[in-house]
Every structure is written in structure tokens, then in C-alpha cells.
Symmetry: C2
Subunit: 215 residues, 2 copies
């Protein structure tokens, strides 16, 4: 049984990666910078899109987004309210987006009118890690309210992302979270990680993060 | 491919449920009340054990716990510090506990010295839903800082639990979370759900929750 599971798991990842590579080509052809947004429920992935889309517009860059969720359209409606092209990608039951779902979402987007495409994954720090989608950058967002041990509990997601965001820094004293521990744990799991601290309610910290995303 | 996946998925659930039923018998034989704790990372599952274990002790009931995580022992160390029997159950890569892991954890616990066993799952609102573990009650913990749309995004987990806890009520005004919406969404998905509001930093709201757990 275990042997069979492992073989199917390998096939599944290989099939996903083939489609992810096609998605990457398609984004490149249309001059779109794809950015994966990963992190737990409520970490601030949608808030990040809400903050970055206007900053991009101020620089003459057009944002677009795929809002991934298990169910519902709460995030999608927030993003559509920004007036940018957006698609709601519900997984139905799955705990992560996969490249095939993103392929369909790309069909529904006006790629020639988008410079930066945010692909917001399902809120979950485990399952999305292994499924590449075709984006060229991967960002993981955590918030102080998840507890300052949240990074230590999830090595794999931090190894798979090059940019880490620690959000809700204003609430850290209220929940007793040690932001330095969170940053230290990120760099321990991924010495090359660029780490940013934000308060996405106010926009604090978003400019340097945007620079890194566009670099 | 899809056909094969569905068949394996069914086998997987059936195999899990058979072991869950054995776990349930074992807990019953030893007079242990098993309580599943589900919810996102940082929602307050471990804090709930920290609050309830002393309240149980004050009533002459002995608590024990299985601390489920992908990796690390942050939660386990907090629970062990309570001086109650505890086991750290790391999944390694999986996004949820399964009955087989719990079976092994039960082997390591002095069941005759435990009246109430908390089984804290991996922090994740999707994957643990489908895997029964053998507990007789299932509790889902959400916190206001996850956003007041967190319930609406995860119908299945609320349908699978009979008790819902809304934690970090003190932070709701700071993050703009509407606690009434969260409670309404819980009852919409599960009309029989008993809903409790807590601030586990102070212990507010834990006594009525404990009553419901022991009822």
C-alpha cells in the first residue's frame, strides 16, 4: 500500500510540475510577473494584494490576481473591489491550489493587461508547499497573532519561498509574540530568505517589500 | 486517473475509520473522554488545553494530551509543562493527524491515569476534517485575528464539529472582526453547534465551555 502511495504521489507531483512549467511559459510570453502568496488563514495575503495593487498602479504597473480558497468568494470580492482583473479559484475540498486550476484561471484573465499577477493560495501552511503553480516568486506571509512558534512548526514552506513577510507587527505586544524569534527561525530554515515586517492595516513596511518583489 | 484516485481515497478513509473505531473502544474501556481540538495555526488549541487542564484538576478530573504538529515540539513542551501526561505526535509532512498516529500515541500514554484526553490536531482547517481519530467530541477553535470570514471559507470543518470556540475576542475591535458574523456563519453551517466566545489569555469564557465538553 505504501509503495503504491509513493508512486502515485510522484506521478502527481510530476504532472503538476509539467503544467506549472506551461503556466510559467505563458506568463513569460505575456510579460507577466507571477507571484505566489502562501500563508495561513488570516495571515494577510489578501490585505497584501489590497496594499500592493495601488502602489503598483502609482508606478504604472497593472496588477491582477487569482483568489484561491476552498469555498466562497470573500477574498475574491475584496480583490475585485480594487478594480483589477481577478478570478476566484475555489478548490471545493482540496487544501491547496494546483497548476491545473491556475491554468484554467489564466484562461479567464486578460494577461496582456496585467504586469504583476498575484496567485493567492488556500490559507494553509502545509499543503500548498509541494505544488508549484508557475509563478517566478514565492512569498510566505505569517502574522504575529499566529504565535511566534509558527515558523518553527513549518520548515518546508519557508524553504520553498524566497521572501517572508511578518505581518500584524502592531499586535505582537498584545499576543506576546517575539518577532525576532520569527525572523531568526525564517533565516535558520532559509538563510537566503528576505524578511519584511509589515502592518498591512496601515501599510507600514509595504514599500521595501514591493521593491524586493519587483527586483 | 481520477477513477483510481477516488478508489484509493475511499480505501484510505475506510482504513482510517476502522482504526478510529478501535481507538474509540480503547478510550471507552479506560474511561477516557477523548476530545479532538481542530483549528488553524495560532487559533488557541494549545492555550485551551493550558486553561482547561487546571480547571479539570480543580474538579478532580485528570487531563492528558496528544500534541499533533507537522514538525517540532513547541506545543508539546507547553503541554508537558502543565504536568499532565502528554505525547508529541509529529506528522513529518502530513497536514493532519490520522487514527494510526493516534493509536501509537495512545500506546505511549497512561490511559488509566487520564479522564479527559485532548487530541490537538495539526493547525489547518481543511485536511483534519475527514480523518476521524476516535474521540467522542470534536471542537473547532477559530480566533478573531483570522478574520471574520474564516468560518464562511471552511464549511466542512464546522459541519464535522459539535462545539465551536471563537477565541481572542479582545482583539476583535483591533482587527475589525465581527464576532456575530462568525457565530452566525457557524450556526448556518451547523445549526446544532454550541458556540462559545473566549479570551484564552485571561481565561474568559472557559467555564461554560468546560461544562459543554463534560456534558
Amino acid at each position: 500500500m505504501h509503495q503504491i502511495d509513493v508512486r502515485i504521489e510522484k506521478d502527481l507531483y510530476a504532472a503538476n510540475e509539467a503544467i506549472a512549467a506551461e503556466n510559467a511559459s505563458r506568463l513569460r510570453e505575456h510579460g507577466v510577473l507571477g507571484i505566489d502568496l502562501l500563508g495561513a488563514i488570516g495571515s494577510g495575503k489578501t490585505a497584501l494584494v489590497e496594499r500592493l495593487a495601488p502602489l503598483l498602479a502609482a508606478r504604472g504597473r497593472r496588477a491582477g490576481a487569482i483568489a484561491g480558497d476552498v469555498y466562497g468568494d470573500d477574498d475574491y470580492r475584496r480583490i475585485a473591489a480594487l478594480g483589477i482583473p481577478a478570478v476566484n479559484a475555489n478548490t471545493g475540498k482540496e487544501c491547496h491550489l494546483d497548476a491545473h486550476l491556475v491554468d484554467h484561471a489564466l484562461d479567464a484573465l486578460p494577461l496582456d493587461e496585467i504586469d504583476v499577477l498575484f496567485i493567492e493560495n488556500v490559507g494553509n501552511m502545509v499543503c500548498p508547499t509541494d505544488f508549484l503553480l508557475g509563478a517566478s516568486k514565492r512569498v510566505v506571509v505569517v502574522s504575529s497573532t499566529e504565535g511566534d512558534d509558527v515558523v518553527n512548526k513549518h520548515p518546508m514552506i519557508f524553504r520553498s519561498c524566497s521572501i517572508g513577510v511578518i505581518n500584524k507587527v502592531d499586535l505582537a505586544p498584545l499576543v506576546g509574540a517575539d518577532l525576532d524569534r520569527m525572523e531568526r527561525d525564517m533565516r535558520r530554515y532559509n538563510p537566503n530568505m528576505q524578511v519584511f515586517r509589515t502592518n498591512l492595516k496601515t501599510g507600514e513596511g509595504t514599500e521595501p517589500l514591493l521593491e524586493a518583489l519587483l527586483a
